[in-house]
Symmetry: D2
Amino acid sequence: MAKQIKKLNVAMIGHGFMGRAHSNAFRQVGCFFDPPYQLQLKVICGRNRGEVEAFAAKWGWEEAQTDWQSVVVKKDVDVVDICAPNHLHAPIAIAAAKAGKIVLCEKPLAMHVTEAEQMANAARGAPNLVWFNYRRVPAIAFAKQLIDRGQVGSPYHYRATYLQSWGGDPDQAGVWRFRRSEAGSGAMGDLLSHSLDLALLLNGPITEVSSLIETFMPGREVDDAVLTLARFANGSIGSFEATRLATGCQNRNYFEIHGSDGAIRFDLEDLNRLEVFDRNDTADIQGAHNVMVTGPGHPYSSHFWPPGHIIGYEHTFIATLSDFLNCLSKQESFHPNFDDAVEVQKLMDAIQSAAQRKTWVSIAAPSSVLRRSS
Amino acid sequence: MAKQIKKLNVAMIGHGFMGRAHSNAFRQVGCFFDPPYQLQLKVICGRNRGEVEAFAAKWGWEEAQTDWQSVVVKKDVDVVDICAPNHLHAPIAIAAAKAGKIVLCEKPLAMHVTEAEQMANAARGAPNLVWFNYRRVPAIAFAKQLIDRGQVGSPYHYRATYLQSWGGDPDQAGVWRFRRSEAGSGAMGDLLSHSLDLALLLNGPITEVSSLIETFMPGREVDDAVLTLARFANGSIGSFEATRLATGCQNRNYFEIHGSDGAIRFDLEDLNRLEVFDRNDTADIQGAHNVMVTGPGHPYSSHFWPPGHIIGYEHTFIATLSDFLNCLSKQESFHPNFDDAVEVQKLMDAIQSAAQRKTWVSIAAPSSVLRRSS
Amino acid sequence: MAKQIKKLNVAMIGHGFMGRAHSNAFRQVGCFFDPPYQLQLKVICGRNRGEVEAFAAKWGWEEAQTDWQSVVVKKDVDVVDICAPNHLHAPIAIAAAKAGKIVLCEKPLAMHVTEAEQMANAARGAPNLVWFNYRRVPAIAFAKQLIDRGQVGSPYHYRATYLQSWGGDPDQAGVWRFRRSEAGSGAMGDLLSHSLDLALLLNGPITEVSSLIETFMPGREVDDAVLTLARFANGSIGSFEATRLATGCQNRNYFEIHGSDGAIRFDLEDLNRLEVFDRNDTADIQGAHNVMVTGPGHPYSSHFWPPGHIIGYEHTFIATLSDFLNCLSKQESFHPNFDDAVEVQKLMDAIQSAAQRKTWVSIAAPSSVLRRSS
Amino acid sequence: MAKQIKKLNVAMIGHGFMGRAHSNAFRQVGCFFDPPYQLQLKVICGRNRGEVEAFAAKWGWEEAQTDWQSVVVKKDVDVVDICAPNHLHAPIAIAAAKAGKIVLCEKPLAMHVTEAEQMANAARGAPNLVWFNYRRVPAIAFAKQLIDRGQVGSPYHYRATYLQSWGGDPDQAGVWRFRRSEAGSGAMGDLLSHSLDLALLLNGPITEVSSLIETFMPGREVDDAVLTLARFANGSIGSFEATRLATGCQNRNYFEIHGSDGAIRFDLEDLNRLEVFDRNDTADIQGAHNVMVTGPGHPYSSHFWPPGHIIGYEHTFIATLSDFLNCLSKQESFHPNFDDAVEVQKLMDAIQSAAQRKTWVSIAAPSSVLRRSS
C-alpha cells in the first residue's frame, strides 16, 4: 500500500453491541474517509476469554485479552476505547489517561457528575472523545449548519423525545442496563444523555429544569422514563422525554426546533431525512421541505454513497471517528469530548435533583461556554 | 334578508350518495360564498315515493316527485341537476336541455362517446356543468395555478392512480354500479374518468393510449380495473390506473407530475395537502414542500375555515357550484362542461378500443383545444 | 315536511370564527343526523348592527340583535349559544341560565376557576354544553372506544402538543385573543384547554403538574406558550405543550398514548386518521396501523360520507350538537358540560400556579370522578 | 484466527460506484455473518493504473492490475466479480467462466438477450450470481416471506416505479451510463431491470407487455424513461415505470401489491420499512401496518443492529454475498443467477419490441419456472 501514514494501535475494552459498532468504525473509517492515521485493531479485551477470542476473530482484532488493567498500560497501545458497562468507564478511562493514552469512551461518560469531572481532569490535555455519535448523523450535522446560518432564526421552542419500548420486553430483564450498580441510571443515561448532548449542540446551554422520573416495572432498579422541562440560555424553552416504555417505538430519537424564521425536525428511525421549514419561502408554497440528507452538498455525503442511497446507524460512528482523527492530526480540540460530557452529566444531576425536590433547579454555567461549539 | 338577488329553482333527479353531496352544496354555497343567485331546493325526484319524501324532509327540498319527465319541464324549475344512474344521464339531460333548463350532470357524462356528443349538442348554448368536482379540491386548483405559473417547468411525467377496494366487498355486490346496463362501465367511468379529467386540466390533451382492462370478480358485468399508458400533446408521458380492488386503499385518487423545474404530488385521502418540489430552492434544502392548502392565499381558502382547519370531501361540490354560479352570472363559459366531458369520453372509448385491439390508439384532437382551460 | 318533532329556538351571542362554525352546525345537524329536535336559527346577536345583519343573512338567522341582555331572556328563545370573547362567557351564561335557557358555551369556559364554578352552579340542573368539539372528531371518539376496550392496556405515557404559529404573524396583532382583559390567557385557554379536556377524557384525572409559561412577543399581554409535566391518577405520566409560536405548524393538535398493550397517535391536521399500534399483532408485522377513521364501523361515520371521503373541521361541531340533542331528549347528562370544564379550569389554575411558584402543584380530585366519562 | 475455513481469492474488474459497494461487501460479510469461506481481496483491475492503485490501497485489495484478460485466468483467483460497464459483462464473464471461475456480475447482465443467454450457457454448471441486490433488502426479503405465507392472498395488482432525477443534471452528461455502446440502454437496464427482477421474485412470470420508451434530453443516446403495462401468469395485472427524469425523486424504487387478503408497499428511500395491510385485522383498526423491518424475526436482522437501528444501501450487498456463499458451500443453486437474469433480459427485449411495434408482446415462458424461486 502506497500510503505512508502514522499507525495508531487501538485497544478496545468491552465487546457488546457498542463493541461491534466501534470495531466496525475502526475497520471502515479508512475506506469511506481519508484519515491521517491508519488504525490497527490491536487488542480487544473482555471478561470471558472464549467470547473475546470469537469476537476478535470475527472483527479482525489481533489480540484477545481479559485483564483491562494490563491492556490500558501496554506500550504498543496508542488509543484506549471504552465500551464496557457504565460503572467501569471511570476506572478504565482514568487509568488509560494516566498511561498517556488517547481515550475514547461510550456515553454516558460516568455514573454521576463528580466521577465525570474526575475523568475530565484525568484526561485534561490528552485527546479524548465521548461517543455521542448522533452529532454525526449527517442530517443532524446539517441541522447544526442550518441553525448556524440562520435558517431557524431566533429560537422559540426545542422539543426532544427519545422513545424506545424494549423496557417492557421480559426477555431483556437480565441485562446490565437494568442494574443500578452497573448502569447508574436507566433511560436517563442511556437515552436522555443523547438528547441533552444534541440540545447543547443545537440550542446551547440550559439554565434550569423541572423534571419527573418514573420506574414502571416492578422490581426494576433504574428509571424507565424521564420527563423534563427546560429553559435555555438563548431564551427558548423546551421539553425532553426519554423512555424505554413507549410501546410502538423502537428508536424514535426525535427533535424539533421552531424559531422566528424556520423550523427543523428529525427522527432517528428515518435518519437520512431532515424536515426543514423555511418561513422565507414564497408564502403559498410554505411547508416543511422533506430533505434527503444524502447529498450532494450535505455533511459526509461525498464519503458514503450517491444521493438517495441511504446510510445506516453504523455510519455515525465512522463519521465521528473520521472527525476525531482529523482533529487529532491538526491538534485541534474535538467535540464532544469529556468536558462536553461533563455538561451533560451536570444536566442529568440537576434533572435528578429537580425530580426529587419537585422544584425547578438551576444549572451552573460551564466554565467556558465556547467549549460547547462542535 | 337584505340581499336582492335572483332566485334559481333547482330540481334534482336522484337522491343517492351524490344526491346528498349535491343537496349539501345547494344548501351551503350561500354560507361559504357570495353567489350571485339564491338557490331554492325546489323539487327532488326519485323512483320510490317514500324514500324521496324522507330525503326531501332531511335536506329541505320543497317538493318530492317520482316522474322525472314531468319534473324537467316544470315551469318553476330553472336548473336540472342529474345524479341518477349513468344510463339515465342522456335522456334526462337532453329533455332538460330541450326544455331550456340549466343542466348539471354527474360524471361520467354518458354511456359512450356518441351519447355524450348528443348531450353536448343538446346543451349547446345553454349553461351546463359536469360534476368533476375534484377540479375544485383547493389543492388541485392550486396545483393548476402552480403549473400555470411555471413551477413544474417543462413536463416529463404524469402519473395518476385512483385506487379503491370496495369492489371486493360482498356486501356491495348488488349495487347499480356493478350492472352494465345502468353503469356502462366499472372503474373506468367511476374512477378513471376523474383521473382523465384532471390530467386534461393539468397536463393538456392526450394523443395516444395503450391499455389493459380487467374484471377479476366472477360474474361481474363491468371492469374492476383499467391500466393505461399515454402520450400527451405537450411531449410528456404518463400512466393511469383505476381499480376497485386495490386492497388497503379507500379513495386514493393520486397524481404526480415531474417537470424540468419541479414536481407536484396529490392524494385525495389527504386532500388538504399538496407536495411541491421546487428545483430552484437552495440546493441543500431541496425536498418536497409539505404544503397545507388551507390558506392564506390558496384557492377558496378565504371562504372556508382558518389555515390548518381542514375541509372535507363535500366542500369540493360547494366550490364547484360557486364557480358555476359566478360564470353563469357573468355569462362566461364554465369548465368542466359537457364539451369537456366529451373529451373524457373520447379518451375512455380510445382506452376501451386499445384494450380490445391490444395496440396503441390515437385520440383525435378536440375541435378547440382552448376549451380545455378551466 | 313529515317530521313532527319539537322545535328549539336558538339565540347565538357572537358571530366571529366560532359563530360561523356554530351556525353551520345548527344548519347541518338535521341533514347528517336524525336529531330529536328541529333547531330554528332564531336570533343572532353582536355589537355592530351592520355586521350582525350581514351575518344573519348569510347563515339564515331570523333576527339580528345587538343587546345580549335582552336576547337571553326572550321568551321565544330555548337555547343560548355563547361564542363571544371569553370575558363575556360568565355574565351571558349566568343570565341565560337564570332565565331557564339551555346554555351552550365556547371554551375556555371562564377567565378563572372561580368564575367557572359560578357558571357551573348557575347552570346546575339545566342542560348545558361546552364546545370542546374535538371530543367528537371521529378518530378521537374512536380512540376513546379503543382505550375503553383495552387496546392500549395499562397506560404509561400521555403526550400532547397543540402547535400553532399565527402568534408570530404581525397581521394578527390586534385581535381580542391577545388582550388579557378579554381573553384571560393566550395559548393556555385557547389551545391547552383543548388538550387538557382530551387528556381527561382519554386518560382520566391529573393529580399534579409542573409548568413553564412564556410570552415571547414584546408587548403581548397573554402567554404565547405553556409547557407542562403531569402525573395522572392512573399512574401514567405525561407532558403538554401549547404554543402559538411553533413556526411551521398551523393546527397540530396532537396526542399519543403508550400503554402495556398498544399505542394510539392522533394529529388534527390529518383528523380523519388514527395510528393504532397493537402489541398483540403477529410479532413480525407489528407496526402502527394507519387507520382511516371514515368507516365502516367508526363513530359518526354512517352519518357523513362513504369510507375514504373525508370530513373536515366543521363536522366536529355537528357531531357534538347531535350528541347533545340526543342526551337532551333522553334527559341524560351530556359531556363535556360546565362541570367538566370546571375541571379543565382547575388544571389551568394549577398550571398557572406551578409556573409562578416553580414547584409541582397538586390538583384536588373532582367531587365525582364518574362525571368525567363522556 | 481460530477459524479453519476455506479461503476464496477474489478478483474484481471495475472500481466505480459498484466497485466500492462490492469491495465493502467482501470486507464486511465476515463481520456481520458467519460465511463458510474466508474472502481474500486479491486483485482489483481497472484501466487507469493510478486510480486502480489508489482504490486498492483504500479498500484493501492486495494487487492492482489493468488487464482483465490476464486477471480472469489467474490461477490464484477463485472468484471473478464484474462491475465494469455493461458492454464488458459478456466478454469478461464468458472468459472467467471458461477459466472455471465462480462469476459474479453486475446488472443488467448483458446488452441484449442473446448475449445474456451466451453468458448463461458459458456459466452453466458453475456457481454464479447477478447483483440484483435489492432482493436482499430485509424488507423485500420479508415481503417475499409474507407473500409466500399468504398475507396478500390472491394477487390483483402489482405496481412498480423506479424514479430518479439525475438524468436532468448537466454535470452527469458525460458518464458511460449515457453512452449506448457501453450501457446498451438507459433507465431500462439501470433501473427497470431491478423492478423486473423483483416482480419476478414476488409475483412470478410476466406473460405479456405493452410499453412506451422515451428519451427527453436532446442528444442523449439511451432511453430516459420506460413505461410498461403487464399481465402476470398468476392472473394479476401490473405497471412499471423507470425514469431518470422524475424531478424530486432520488432513488424511489417502489412497489406495491394488492391481493384478496392484503397489500404490501415498499420504497427504497426508506428501505428499513414495509407497509403491510392485513384484511384479517379487526375491521375497525384495519390500516397499513408501518413495520420497521429491523427485527426481531426479520430476514438478516439478527446479523446487523438491534431493532430500530437502521441499515443502509450497502448492507444489501453484504446480505446477498452471505446467501451466495452459503449456497456455494451447500452446493445449492443461488438466485438470482445468470439464468434468472436471462428472464429479466427477455422481458426487456419484449418491452423494447412492444414499444417499437406499438402492440402488446408475449413473453415465452422460461424453460423452468421453478428456477424463479429465490
